[in-house]
């Protein structure tokens, strides 16, 4: 009993740094952010001054702000399109790189390279100079034509083409996670299936994919978080800018941050629900 107590005490000592940090740098700031979002916050000579305004900041964000609602729609549609593309692509790339091929390390090195250079300003410059669009795409598709004839879908399609390389550039870590997942699969199951006459295609859908579902969930979360925190994201930029805007200020910016967080949580639960459902099916079939 005494040893158990000592053990618990040591554990808490080791983790105490994190506990203090969590309180000071995460929990208290979150509470203050929520509080600020119901206030009009002004800088005065005696520090900051808050006036309670209720839900006004939230109302303004949706009703008065000329761009915020558009940014949200843009963000949600980007996530709904980019995440499946990135996760599917990284799965395919991982399967290819997991095969017995020469130069595996070389290809892995190339596929992983973007992870180190994708910072906001670098991507901004590359996009500005058209270095991230698929080579030659402009000859065949006119963005204006797409936007005119297919409305929001045309816009989204254009967006995908326009930043195609950038989308793929976000798949490095996910490829590695998938490769690690693939290497953990039980080989004897595949041998048994192939004796039973299952084709490679069937094996992928019936064995590989269900077994990889937890890894897919990890990658979905990782992709969503990375894209949502990326510096070029319009909402991220807007929150930083509005903080300094005299007419909007800190109260308004924090309200936007809270709305943004709620949207991220909703998207996350939708994606996790989809990947979890398929996992459930697997057990149902077994």
């Amino acid at each position: 009993m005494k040893l158990k107590n000592k053990n618990a005490l040591m554990g808490i000592i080791f983790v105490s740094g994190w506990i203090i940090g969590f309180l000071v740098f995460t929990l208290v700031p979150i509470i203050r952010t929520i509080w600020f979002s119901f206030n009009n916050v002004k800088f005065t000579a005696n520090g900051i001054k808050e006036t309670y305004v209720g839900l006004l900041n939230y109302k303004n964000a949706f009703l008065l702000d000329p761009v915020f609602t558009d940014y949200i729609i843009e963000y949600i549609s980007q996530m709904l399109i980019f995440i499946p593309i990135i996760v599917t692509f990284s799965l395919i790339a991982a399967i290819m790189l997991n095969k017995k091929i020469k130069g595996k390390g070389f290809f892995r090195t190339i596929f992983f390279l973007p992870v180190i250079i994708t910072s906001g300003p670098v991507m901004q410059k590359l996009i500005e100079q058209n270095a991230t669009a698929l080579p030659g795409v402009y000859k065949y598709f006119s963005m204006e034509y797409l936007a005119k004839n297919f409305g929001i879908f045309g816009n989204l399609f254009g967006m995908v083409l326009n930043s195609f390389i950038m989308i793929l550039w976000f798949s490095g870590v996910q490829i590695l996670i998938f490769i690690a997942g693939l290497q953990k699969l039980d080989k004897s199951v595949y041998e048994a299936a192939s004796i039973d006459g299952a084709s490679k295609w069937q094996m992928f859908w019936k064995l590989t994919l269900p077994a990889l579902m937890p890894v897919i969930s990890i990658n979905v979360v990782y992709t969503l978080v990375t894209l949502s925190n990326f510096a070029l994201n319009h909402i991220v930029q807007k929150i930083s800018n509005d903080m300094y805007d005299i007419t909007k200020g800190i109260g308004y910016a924090t309200a936007l941050a809270i709305i943004y967080f709620i949207i991220i949580l909703i998207l996350l639960s939708v994606f996790l629900l989809i990947t979890k459902n398929k996992d459930g099916e697997k057990y149902a079939k077994n």
């Binding site: 618990a8 554990g11 740094g17 994190w18 952010t33 596929f111 906001g120 100079q129 590695l176």
Partner: protein, 294 residues
């Protein structure tokens, strides 16, 4: 027949890998190619990839605009110190969670994962005000303090890496040391830390790169005091116009694609070198740390 089929599928596989590899490297080729072009090459429709001469003026301007030497030193300093502190303290947290049992451990693990999902926008404004009250705006302490308390950039991932690593690592050595009367801190420093060197190195290189590439928080917390390469590139066009605005009319030297690309390449060059030194560790990171573990 079967051999032919195998050959075709192999050939197709290599073809696809090379094609994707090219698509991945395309922006980098583009950057290198354009950064050496002078204004004539840029407008000449016959010059597509290979510039007609080795033109270095773009790099001279870009070095000047980025204030390269000073910014490079700032960048190294801003990436190195917080990332070292971050991994040291995340490993302490991870060790505590992996080796000891106490009430509320599950809640802490849940909160660690939850903090990974919270976007920094939710916490950055109160943090900014706090640093302002403490007079820390414009100093590196705004990065150092959270790092010391395991709340730096993506600290959750590093805590989980160490948690996973120490959990998989056999306890026997540590238990033997405990019987010999070693205290917990000695065991941690003498046995656990050396065993976890691969996890430390992988965490360090990722942390370094993420701090190096940060631009939202560093722009907010550093103000104009610390100018990293990443922030320099963010203000590249404006700085360029500031420096060369008087001479534009005389020399016709306004900013163009080539100068932009030279600046971008110079910003990522140190990271490219870093990548080729640690390339193995990046690519094998997941295997070495077992982050996807059960």
């Amino acid at each position: 027949m079967r051999k032919i089929k195998e050959f075709i599928s192999k050939a197709l596989l290599y073809f696809l890998l090379i094609l994707i590899g090219f698509v991945f490297l395309y922006p980098i080729f583009y950057m290198i190619s354009y950064s050496f072009m002078d204004t004539e090459d840029l407008v000449n429709p016959f010059v597509k990839w290979i510039p007609t001469k080795l033109y270095l003026e773009n790099y001279k301007s870009a070095l000047n605009v980025l204030n390269y030497k000073t910014s490079l030193i700032s960048s190294i300093y801003v990436a190195l110190i917080p990332s070292l502190l971050q991994i040291i303290f995340c490993s302490v947290t991870g060790y505590g969670l992996a080796r000891f049992d106490f009430k509320g451990k599950k809640i802490i693990l849940f909160l660690i994962i939850a903090t990974f999902i919270i976007p920094s926008q939710v916490t950055m404004i109160p943090q900014f005000l706090m640093y302002k009250d403490l007079n820390l705006i414009g100093s590196l302490y705004s990065f150092i303090l959270p790092a010391i308390f395991s709340q730096g950039l993506r600290s959750s991932i590093f805590i989980l890496i160490f948690y996973q690593f120490f959990k998989m690592f056999p306890k026997s050595l540590e238990e033997a040391a405990k019987i010999d009367g070693a205290n917990y801190l000695t065991i941690f420093l003498r046995i656990a830390v050396p065993s976890a060197l691969p996890a430390y190195l992988v965490s360090f290189i990722f942390s370094f790169v993420w701090y190096w590439n940060e631009s939202t928080l560093s722009a907010l917390y550093f103000g104009n005091k610390i100018k990293t390469l990443t922030l320099g590139l963010q203000n590249f066009t404006a700085t360029y116009q500031n420096i060369y605005s008087s001479s534009i009319t005389q020399t016709g030297k306004s900013i163009n694609e080539a100068i932009n690309m030279a600046g971008t390449l110079l910003t990522i060059l140190p990271l490219l070198i870093f990548y080729f030194v640690f390339q193995r560790w990046f690519v094998e990171s997941v295997d070495r740390t077992g982050i996807t573990g059960e």
